[in-house]
């Protein structure tokens, strides 16, 4: 019983913490951020199982988190507000050849992050990017600028 309560508390605690770590833990993780996510997860596991390492206890904790996650996913699908709270909202980082400073600063993004995403698309100059959008899952979508044909 206590494990289930700890699992629920741990789930929401992690949800808020990961949301506060901005969206970088999603898809743009550096090795350092990768280590942080595992470290946080490991610490939460210790508190959740509460010294009881039996298969029964661990299975109950996993099932609790699984059911809770399903419930939150159902809520997200029903309400865009819940979706924005849990996953955030897509944000435009670059629009028509200009950085959206407020968003870049707010999301602690550097032009290098956008160029990394652009290179994945085979774009080698920032001037060829019309829109850069930070998606809810942490990836950066790049939309190419159309070149004028002389």
């Amino acid at each position: 019983m206590l494990t289930m309560i700890y699992a629920i508390a741990g789930y929401f605690f992690l949800m808020v913490t990961v949301r506060l770590l901005t969206r970088r833990p999603g898809a743009q993780m550096t090795m350092f951020e990768f280590v942080i996510v595992f470290l946080v997860g490991g610490v939460v596991i210790l508190a959740t199982t509460h010294g009881d390492r039996s298969i029964t206890n661990c299975a109950m904790a996993i099932l609790t988190v699984g059911l809770l996650h399903n419930f939150v996913a159902w809520l997200k699908a029903r309400s865009s507000r819940v979706g924005a709270l849990v996953d955030g909202t897509p944000l435009v980082l670059l629009k028509d050849g200009a950085w959206v400073d407020e968003v870049m600063r707010g999301m602690k993004m550097a032009p290098e992050d956008i160029m990394a995403a652009a290179r994945m698309k085979g774009i080698n100059s920032i001037f060829d990017v019309k829109y850069a959008i930070l998606e809810r899952n942490g990836t950066i979508s790049i939309i190419k600028a159309k070149k004028d044909i002389a």
Partner: protein
């Protein structure tokens, strides 16, 4: 041929940027979130400072003392579930020197605060009066007894310690989850 269970017409419901790219950006929400985020970072910093000070246990603020003419008790006013700690009873010189010393502890020391061991082992233990009365062989001062505690559940527990013939000492201990 299988039938389609239900159909819903596709609508252009996602807000666009420059009337061109459907993004669904909600900058007003994001601005509110950034404000919430900055407040939360301050709260987190405050929680860490309080934790460093020992407000949530295992720090200077958590250390506490109680004293009367028979003994001095050192304990933690904030404990943590499953975390070991020591409650120490130092007997005053007038309490020792009679060959033995008796100490009555309330049941909450054993149940709520989870006594694992009493150091040194008492020569005799008697139950009654809502707790346990330990008898220790004793010589001249200084002398002390330690209770190795490890609470098994969170809560607020009041304990009482008494050397028969002197006034009891009581305190509350908060056990954090």
């Amino acid at each position: 041929m299988s039938e389609v269970a239900f159909q819903k017409t596709v609508g252009d419901s996602v807000p666009k940027i420059n009337d061109e790219v459907a993004v669904g950006e909600d900058l007003d929400f994001q601005r509110k979130w950034w404000k919430f985020e900055s407040v939360m970072w301050w709260i987190i910093a405050l929680l860490l400072l309080l934790n460093f000070a020992g407000v949530f246990g295992r720090g200077p603020v958590a250390h506490a003392k109680l004293a009367n003419d028979a003994m001095l008790v050192k304990y933690e006013r904030v404990e943590r579930t499953g975390t070991p700690s020591i409650l120490e009873v130092q007997f005053k010189p007038n309490t020792l020197g009679r060959g033995q010393v008796k100490l009555h502890v309330s049941q909450s020391i054993v149940d709520g605060l989870g006594t694992q061991r009493v150091i040194p082992s008492p020569s005799d233990t008697a139950i009654g009066r809502g707790g346990l009365t330990y008898t220790f062989s004793a010589e001249q001062a200084p002398g002390s007894v330690q209770f190795a505690l490890q609470p098994s559940r969170p809560g607020i527990f009041e304990f009482t310690l008494q050397v028969p013939g002197s006034s009891p000492l009581s305190a509350k201990v908060v056990v954090m989850p």
